[in-house]
């Protein structure tokens, strides 16, 4: 029921957050976050829209600077490093963004092989590697297409190929199933599971889908009012009696989290 407490300093996890705070214009979005992600674990963060899940991700990835607290990756604080060192260390993470965030100006294979090309691999070799990874996500023969020509599901899979092409140890998924049809959701879920089993990666996922939580997670954290409200192993989800947590996993509008609706059905006219 209370936020998880970790013993200070010595990190147990491959990713370790210690007392992380972040506010925007005086509004607390993250309020004393402590969590540890163990090596090889699949950790899913759930929470209402606007709870600060993406902000949490961005802090871990070094895209936002927390106001207070420490974030250690592989036992090392990245914020104090010079930019070049940070960028070098980024090669151990792969990120699948919510909208895939493919580079519009580059063809698919150059998107996928972006890091390899930056590391100085020559064109034919990088292209071959990209083609292999694309085939692995079920997209052969699209190397020379431009991202604008792809459907949402294809973009997600190309984004996934780009995230794993350089063989990272830690993978971040930001709402990997958002905006996909049920079949494509299952395809992506399967890929995520296969990646986990074959490559022994650690992953941190933001998700709204309880199906994904049940199929893919080892542990779950619920972010609520800026704190880690609950953290538990997957098999404890259904035995939880916390009303807020239950409301979330059952997906009900009524419960301890209050939503106010306009009393009249002509609310649109009022605005």
């Amino acid at each position: 029921m209370s936020p998880e407490k970790t013993s200070a300093k010595q990190p147990a996890g491959i990713i370790s957050l210690q007392g992380v705070h972040k506010s925007f214009k005086g509004r607390k979005v993250l309020d004393n976050i402590n969590m540890d992600i163990m090596p090889g674990e699949s950790h899913i963060v759930i929470g209402l829209s606007g709870a600060g899940k993406s902000v949490l991700f961005k802090c871990i990835l070094g895209l936002l600077r927390p106001d207070r607290g420490a974030i250690l990756i592989n036992g090392e604080e990245w914020f104090t490093l010079p930019i070049e060192e940070k960028l070098q260390r980024m090669s151990c993470v792969g990120v699948l963004f919510q909208g895939a965030a493919l580079f519009d100006s580059l063809p698919v294979w150059e998107n996928v092989a972006f890091v390899l090309r930056r590391q100085g691999m020559n064109k034919p070799e990088a292209r071959e590697r990209a083609a292999e990874v694309l085939e692995w996500v079920g997209l052969p023969d699209i190397c020379d297409k431009m991202p604008a020509e792809l459907s949402g599901g294809m973009k997600k899979r190309v984004g996934m190929a780009r995230a794993i092409c350089h063989r990272p140890d830690i993978i971040f998924y930001d709402e990997p199933l958002a905006g996909l049809d049920p079949v494509m959701s299952d395809v992506i879920t399967t890929l995520m599971k296969r990646l986990h089993e074959r490559m022994n990666v650690t992953s941190l996922t933001i998700a709204h889908s309880m199906k994904l939580v049940r199929e893919f997670s080892d542990r779950v954290s619920m972010l609520y009012e800026g704190r880690i409200y609950q953290q538990m192993a997957r098999h404890d989800i259904d035995s939880s009696h916390d009303p807020v947590f239950k409301q979330f996993i059952e997906g009900r509008a009524d419960g301890p989290i209050q939503f106010t609706f306009s009393g009249s059905d002509h609310g649109k006219e009022a605005t």
């Binding site: 961005k58 990835l61 070094g62 895209l63 930019i83 960028l87 070098q88 980024m90 090669s91 993470v93 792969g94 990120v95 963004f97 919510q98 909208g99 965030a101 493919l102 580079f103 519009d104 972006f114 890091v115 930056r118 590391q119 780009r162 971040f172």
Partner: protein, 256 residues
């Protein structure tokens, strides 16, 4: 009350925006001292800037040169000093109209596209993605654009100067019946090198302003597609205003 609030709001926004330009400028300067510099991207951006600007710049220059000749003729005809038209045209083009008008056109054309491109990349998380793919977005996106604007502006202005003077020549010789030989001699005889150099130096400064302002607007863009539109408009307006202000300051400084 509402009026005061609006002013306060505007001042706050201005302070916020003015903080972003130096912030990005600082990041650019820090990174310029060490590789990687991404030369192919710089060349690519130079091409883009050139291709995008050439038509508008040439058109602007030729009509400016023509109208300058026409208007000076009206004035100088009253004193019987038509021979001065050539000098007026070349001097105004080199020192003032070339850099300022090209600057304004490039702000509208290139500045808008810088802000829109980077803004779209920001809101679709492509800039964040670059970072996670071990690539510094300032080096990869901002520096090539700023350098391209800075390097291409003097070239465009040089071209505009030539075309503008040619436009003035055509009008003076074919429409206003001036002697072609005297016109050409008068174009050059009263010029000093500083007239040319000051214009090209201004062009470089204006190019840097356009690059930095537009890239900062795009790079720090927020608020979805609407935010990109606003950033693009602000990039053009702020670049254009800054060019006019910088022009006065530079002129006062160079010719003091």
């Amino acid at each position: 009350m509402y009026f005061l609030e609006a002013i306060g709001d505007a001042v706050q926004r201005l302070a916020y925006a003015l903080g972003l330009y130096p912030l990005l400028a600082g990041k650019v300067i820090v990174r310029l001292r060490k590789p990687p510099w991404f030369f192919p991207l710089i060349i690519e951006q130079c091409e883009m800037v050139g291709v995008q600007s050439l038509p508008v710049v040439l058109l602007t220059a030729v009509f400016t040169g023509m109208v300058l000749a026409l208007q000076s003729w009206v004035a100088f005809h009253r004193f019987g000093a038509e021979s001065m038209i050539a000098t007026i045209v070349s001097l105004s083009m080199l020192r003032e109209l070339g850099p300022v008008l090209v600057g304004l056109m490039v702000a509208g054309r290139v500045g808008a596209s810088f802000a829109a491109e980077l803004g779209a990349m920001r809101v679709s998380e492509q800039i964040d993605a670059l970072w996670t793919l071990s690539t510094d977005p300032v080096r990869y996106l901002v520096i090539p654009r700023v350098l391209a604007a800075m390097l291409m502006m003097p070239l465009l202005v040089l071209l505009a100067d030539a075309i503008g003077m040619a436009g003035g020549y055509v009008i003076s010789v074919y429409a206003l019946d001036q002697n072609p030989h005297t016109y050409i001699t008068n174009s050059y005889d009263y010029l000093e090198l500083i007239d040319l150099y000051s214009g090209l130096f201004k062009a470089m400064v204006f190019g840097t302003i356009i690059g930095l302002v537009s890239c900062a607007e795009g790079y720090y863009c927020a608020g979805g597609a609407g935010g990109v539109g606003k950033a693009t408009t602000r990039a053009v307006v702020v670049s254009a205003m800054s060019i006019l202000i910088a022009d006065y300051i530079l002129t006062a400084w160079i010719f003091k």
